[in-house]
Structures are given as structure tokens and as C-alpha cells.
Subunit: 183 residues, 2 copies
């Protein structure tokens, strides 16, 4: 049986779920502690404040496992990780929405941008290699993030109701196009 999580873990879990969907400024400390079922004062006690709690959730983001696989099936893995079924429960491990939800925040924006550049874009460019690696990596990220944005956040009709297999096939074509350098 799973042992009951500690208060610190309960706070982290609730914070991640809320920051993930609504962004730093749209979530209050009392929202988090209310969802976690603990007192509001414990956020300052355990994490030094709301900002510290947010940074703890940020540090908690798993390394994007796509970066760990070979160059050949990198594209396939990337597409797969961005076309998972729409399930808030399991999607928590996907850092995408947390990044999107907070990049505009006046205090957290810089942190988010630095994370995307150093933790995602630069390693991806190194993995891709070749000429104009940075540009190709950025284009691929644009395709992936744009897809997730239109599907999950804007919920535009053509992407929310199509089968995952069809979507993945389309995304593979787009991804391959993105990583091919113009002559």
C-alpha cells in the first residue's frame, strides 16, 4: 500500500497541479493549502514563501526524457510525448503547460525562459547537430509547442476531435520538415 504523503509532498503535489493549469499569479497560497488540506502558514515555513514553493515545483520537473534517446527515434519520441491523450492527471509530468502558463509572469518569466533555453532548446540542438542546429531545434519546438497550445489550451476543433494516430502522423511530417534545413 502507498504510504500517506508527507505535508511537504502534499503541498508540492497541489502546487504543481494548480500552477500547471492556471499560472503563478492566478493561484493563491490559500488555494494550494486548501487543496492540500493543510494550513496556509506552512508554505512559508517549509518553502520560505510562495515563490520558494513555485521554484520547488520547477526544480521538480523531470528531465525531458526525449533528450535521453538516440538521434534516430528522437522525433518519434518527441511527437509521442506531445500527443498524449488529454489527461490532466498524467499530463502533470509534461512540463509544457507549466512553462507556458508562467512565461508571461512578471517575476517568473525570466526563470522560465532560462529553463527552456538551457534545459530544452540547447540540448535539443546539440542532439540534432549539423548546420543551423539551433534554428532547427527552435523550429521543431515551435511545431510541438504550437500543437499542444492549439489543442489543449485553445481547444480548436480540428485537433481535439481527431484520432491520435492521425495526429501523430501529421506531426511526424511536420517535425521532419522542421528539422530539415533549407538548402
Amino acid at each position: 500500500m502507498t504510504k500517506t504523503p508527507s505535508t511537504k509532498e502534499k503541498l508540492l503535489q497541489a502546487a504543481r497541479a494548480l500552477f500547471w493549469t492556471r499560472g503563478y499569479s492566478n493561484v493563491s497560497v490559500r488555494d494550494i493549502t486548501g487543496a492540500a488540506g493543510v494550513d496556509a502558514a506552512l508554505v512559508s515555513r517549509y518553502f520560505g514563501g510562495k515563490q520558494g514553493l513555485f521554484e520547488a515545483t520547477l526544480a521538480d520537473i523531470p528531465a525531458w526524457d526525449v533528450l535521453a534517446c538516440d538521434r534516430e527515434n528522437l522525433l518519434e519520441k518527441a511527437v509521442e510525448s506531445f500527443t498524449q491523450p488529454y489527461n490532466p492527471q498524467t499530463d502533470l509530468v509534461n512540463p509544457f503547460t507549466l512553462l507556458l502558463a508562467n512565461v508571461l509572469d512578471p517575476v517568473m518569466g525570466d526563470k522560465i525562459r532560462a529553463f527552456v533555453q538551457q534545459g530544452i532548446a540547447t540540448p535539443l540542438a546539440e542532439k540534432l547537430g549539423g548546420v543551423r542546429a539551433e534554428e532547427k531545434a527552435a523550429m521543431l519546438l515551435a511545431v510541438l509547442f504550437g500543437f499542444a497550445l492549439i489543442r489543449k489550451n485553445f481547444q480548436v476543433k480540428g485537433l481535439t476531435d481527431t484520432s491520435l494516430d492521425d495526429l501523430r502522423a501529421q506531426m511526424m511530417i511536420l517535425g521532419q520538415t522542421a528539422v530539415q534545413s533549407a538548402p
Copy 2:
């Protein structure tokens, strides 16, 4: 000479500039009135409150002029409108960032989604026509919005420092791929 704008116009202008960059919840009424140089009480007087002011800026969005041109040069116009130089002053007429900045807002999200679907995605699908028009339109939007997201918001290196001509060429290829239906 340009006649001095009325208080209402000054408020709308400042509100658009701030909501555009930081999102609804990250902007306070006093931020706006401070930038406009007017009293904070006038927001409630003229627009019925902060929410009314936001909706006024939303109603102020010009119809996406790309939707007005022919089917042939639609793609070129769309790419062009999304690859303008990074200029906050002129970019105010581009609805993109206002939409992105507020789609996650707990109170404004629904309004934004409805606007994107009815004001952009559906007309674009009708313009594209053919089989799977909705899907193709959504994919094209994903490419366009994803590009703007990675470039302007995340400021990833490969897209911020490349020449506009190169970027446009790349985007044209991606856009054409997006609107081609899989067999």
C-alpha cells in the same frame, strides 16, 4: 497634428499595451491608470470595471486581415503577419499575444477560446476548404502560433537571431506542409 486622445481612448490604449504583454491577472487597474495618467476610479466609471475594460480591448481587435485575402496568397499573408519584426509598438495590432497571454486566465479563458474558434479557426477552415478543412486550419494555426510563441515569448536562440527572410522561407514550407492533407 494629432488631436489629444480622450480619456477613454487613453485608457484603452494603455490597457491594450499592458494586457497584451502581461495578461489580465498580471495587470492591476492602477497599473493601467498610472500609465494612462488618469485616476483609477475612471475605469469603473467608463467601462464598468476592470473586466469591462478588458472586454473593450478584446472587442477592439481588428478582424484578422489575413482572412480577407484570396485562397492563393493566404499562406503568404499569414506567414508575413506572424513574422513581423519584434516591435511592441506596431505589434499591438496583432491579436496573437493578447490571445496567448489570456487563454490561461481563469475568468477570461472561455472568452478567448470562443474568439479563437469563431473569429479565426472556423473562418480559416472555410477559406481553406476541401477535405479535413478544420484539421488543416488547426495545424496551420499550430505552426503559426508555435513559431510566435517560441520566438517572442520563450525567446529561444535559433529564432530570435535569424534573418526574417530565412524565417519566412522556413515558415512557408512548414505552412504548406500543414495544409496538405495526409492521403
